[in-house]
């Protein structure tokens, strides 16, 4: 929309963009139904929810103020849940973020175009494997009795490790498998950014006698820095958004110590144990922290790069 559009009547604008708007409609409905309407149920967090009264609406159940929040922060698990949630996403970011960049640089520096294309396709395919399958593969490969990894360890004379039920291993497995699954896909945007660099710049550097490594350090990295920073900031906004499905599939009581995150705790309390109000309160706290992160990273983005979401 250009500025002159504001002078046209709204109806005319809608008519002109009707096809675009129609395409946008499902997205709009998705957010209304699954993100905005449920907010009306947040009142539950301050009530003692009674079964059968419906999730949406205020004053259906007795008001209990901050009782559920007090219960959560008084619980021995509160700190552990917050720590686990934060650390799991922090490590995912720490290890998951640089890998696609390094990979993108390698891919673009390869001489054989075919090889580069092939490597790219192979590495981004795992992104489309369902989480259930990935966790199933992990369980199989890592099985202490007949998993391939432990067979290898045994052949080398080591003692088999029970990866999936040792709390020490939970975060590593989560981060490694997550990076494996997404680094090829995430590299695409960096590959595009690197491809966008004017070839004459490389030529100029070569004429000046720069090595390949110097080209990377002094040309590619500065040229893609903006993209990197923008993406980093946007990822920061989602820092607390750990994948519920994957944690839920991977964890068991044995690894709650490192694997139990706020989202899974809310699920257990709300859906499995029917403490709907308590679960709503914990979920609200989680969303509030997430909100701070999003606003914070947006502000940061505006300061650093001059561009922001709002």
């Amino acid at each position: 929309m250009s500025r002159s559009d504001t002078k046209k009547p709204l109806r005319q604008l809608i008519h002109r963009d009707r096809q675009l708007l129609l395409m946008f409609l499902p997205v709009f409905l998705y957010y209304i139904i699954f993100c905005y309407l449920p907010m009306a149920g947040l009142a539950m967090a301050f009530e003692d929810f009674k079964m059968g009264t419906g999730f949406i609406g205020v004053f259906n159940s007795p008001f209990v103020g901050l009782r559920w929040f007090e219960q959560f922060f008084g619980s021995v698990f509160a700190w552990r849940l917050i720590r686990n949630t934060f650390l799991l996403s922090f490590y995912s970011l720490l290890f998951g973020f640089p890998i696609p960049i390094i990979f993108a640089i390698c891919i673009t520096q390869m001489r054989g175009r075919r090889l580069a294309k092939g490597a790219q396709v192979i590495t981004y395919l795992p992104y489309f494997i369902s989480t259930v399958v990935v966790v199933g593969m992990m369980t199989n490969f890592l099985s202490p009795s007949n998993g391939i990894i432990n067979q290898f360890i045994k052949t080398l004379g080591g003692k088999p490790i029970n990866f999936m039920s040792d709390p020490k291993w939970f975060r590593r497995l989560y981060v490694i498998s997550g990076s494996w699954q997404s680094f090829g896909f995430n590299a695409i945007i960096f590959v595009a950014a690197i491809m966008g660099i004017d070839p004459s710049l490389y030529e100029a550097m070569r004429v000046d006698g720069a090595t390949r490594f110097q080209q990377i350090i002094h040309l590619i990295i500065p040229m893609i820095a903006d993209t990197v920073i923008l993406l980093l900031i946007m990822t920061l906004g989602n820092l607390l958004n750990v994948g519920f499905e994957k944690v839920y599939l991977m964890y068991s009581p044995a690894v709650y110590e490192t694997g139990d995150v706020i989202a899974t705790y809310v699920y257990r309390q709300g859906i499995e144990n029917k403490n709907f109000s308590y679960a709503a309160a914990v979920g609200l706290f989680y969303s509030a922290v997430g909100f701070v992160f999003v606003v914070g990273s947006n502000t940061l983005s505006r300061r650093v790069t001059g561009s922001s979401l709002w």
Binding site: K50, M51, G52, N162, S165, K168, E272
Partner: protein, 508 residues
């Protein structure tokens, strides 16, 4: 003359009524229907929507049932949010649990059935005949809200099963103590029990982690299955907070370190154990008795149906005399939606579903279809029932979606004679009742919902850590107990004590 005429007329009227609808009909209205939300079959390839026997029950009652059937493995997760939302619910609802915290009934979602007992002749009769069940269904407010689904309690419960040929080959007596049992496991680990030339492929014991508390808890005097239990003096304890629990963990940690409890015990499942039986790889297991003959023993080539290969034995004793943990009879509940505009019909249908006629259909099916009657008047299931499980289950036998009542005699006829005898000899005498299901008061509910989940989470995760040695029992057991205390375990024990006292009083 006038009198005679009126008698004739009355008779004719009565006859015409009889011809129109069966005696068991709960309505004479054409096309009446009730909607019902319930569990589907446990067999994933079976859909009970058009099950023959259930249709027959509905036909007898002269109604059609509009089913909403949900997979039993996700029933609770699917149905509890539906009930919480409370919108557009059907007339009859199978609850996701037995509602001991009165979560549902205190919100007024369900009809008080005791106020309708005048139109529930079958259910009234049932309650009179079963005072124990009546006591456990009577809520704190004195009303009865649900019609139960019940299970056998003192037979065919989880039991220790041993590989009998291995035991014979080893020349060992049936172990009755923990020490003998461990000695047996060690022997199996060292020797080539299945005679395939490889002494290392034997897995001495294959037990799913959920059954470890059933198997070893009693030898330490603990009912870890119920969690809370009352001792002989009626004092309630929490098993995982007792001193004996430390010995239990130490014992299991010992088994784990020695490799007698496999590294993967937390993820072992029944399919894997069945496969091990098929390859003659394992010497002991612990499972619901039901699996003994038709699942585990049936895997062996030389099983002829007259003698068990994997067979049940008496419980193991340790510092305490062993026992097996039984079950509470009420396993499920059906209630009538108080917002339904069809309450009377729904109540009557539930009542008919409790009638002997309907119960007979769930248990036996139909003569000529599933069973035949021999010259002595005894019923026998037809061969197709065991040969074609999917067909048999598809009829709606045992009706997981109806208030069906399991019984020991009806279970006996499905099993080979040796299995029935095994149950009477090694299981029934050793069964101890679990902690009773008692309705909670509002205050109790708030204590339970506030603390119990966290306690259970903590106990579960520490149990694995202690057994696998991620945490040292010597160093950390005291801090484990201290954490349980800070999770208000004492408050919970107080609540359970009050509930137990109420139950004991009601049973007097």
């Amino acid at each position: 003359m006038k009198k005679l005429l009126s008698v004739v007329l009355a008779l004719a009227l009565a006859l015409s009524c009889l011809s129109a609808v069966a005696e068991s009909a709960i309505t004479d209205q054409e096309g009446a229907s009730v909607s019902m939300l319930a569990m589907n079959s446990w067999y994933s390839t079976v859909d009970l929507k058009d099950a023959y026997l259930l249709k027959k029950v509905a036909d007898n009652a002269n109604v059609t049932v509009e089913w909403t059937l949900i997979d039993p493995t996700t029933y609770s997760d699917t149905v509890s949010p539906m009930l919480a939302a409370g919108q557009d619910l059907p007339d009859i609802i199978q609850l996701p649990d037995t509602d001991n915290n009165m979560t549902y009934l205190s919100s007024g979602m369900f009809v008080k059935l005791d106020e309708h007992l005048d139109i529930m002749p079958n259910y009234s009769k049932y309650l009179e005949a079963n005072p124990f069940i009546k006591a456990s269904l009577t809520a704190v407010d004195g009303h009865i809200y649900y019609v139960p689904q019940t299970v056998v309690t003192n037979n065919y419960q989880p039991v220790l099963m041993l590989n009998m040929p291995w035991l014979e080959k080893a020349g060992l007596e049936v172990p009755t103590t923990l020490d003998d049992f461990v000695a047996m496991l060690r022997y199996y680990k060292e020797n080539d029990m299945n005679g395939n030339g490889d002494p290392n492929d034997e897995i001495p014991m294959s037990v799913q982690s959920a059954f470890l508390p059933y198997m070893f808890g009693p030898a330490f005097g603990l009912d870890l299955v119920s969690g809370f239990y009352a001792d002989d003096n009626g004092v309630v304890h929490y098993a995982a907070a007792e001193d004996a629990y430390k010995d239990y963990l130490t014992f299991l940690n010992g088994l784990y370190n020695e490799g007698l409890l496999e590294v993967e015990f937390t993820s072992l499942n029944r399919d894997q154990i069945t496969e091990r039986c098929a390859n003659d790889l394992t010497g002991a297991t612990f499972d619901f008795s039901w699996q003994m003959s038709n699942l585990y023993s049936a895997q062996y080539e030389n099983y002829d149906g007259t003698k068990g290969i994997i067979a049940g034995v008496a419980p193991l004793s340790g510092a305490h005399k062993g026992f097996y943990v039984g079950r509470n009879p009420v396993s499920g509940c059906f209630g009538v939606n108080s917002k339904s505009d069809n309450i009377e019909l729904a109540v009557k249908f539930l009542d008919y579903a409790m009638s002997e006629e309907a119960q007979d259909l769930y248990v036996w099916g139909e003569e000529g279809l599933t069973y035949e009657v021999d010259a002595d008047g005894n019923r026998h299931f037809l061969p197709r029932c065991t040969e074609d499980t999917i067909w048999y289950q598809g009829l709606g036998i045992n009706a997981p979606n109806m208030p069906s009542q399991q019984s020991t005699p009806a279970t006996d006829v499905l099993l080979p004679a040796w299995h029935v005898q095994n149950d009477r000899e090694f299981e029934e005498p050793y069964i101890r009742a679990p902690f009773p299901n008692v309705y909670s008061t509002t205050d109790e509910t708030s204590t339970i919902s506030m603390y119990l989940v966290d306690v259970q989470t903590y106990v579960d995760e520490r149990a694995v850590a202690f057994i696998c040695g991620y945490a040292s029992i010597e160093d950390e057991f005291d801090s484990y107990i201290a954490t349980l205390k800070s999770l208000q375990i004492d408050e919970l024990i107080k609540v359970k004590q009050a509930q137990y006292d109420r139950f004991a009083a009601a049973m007097k």
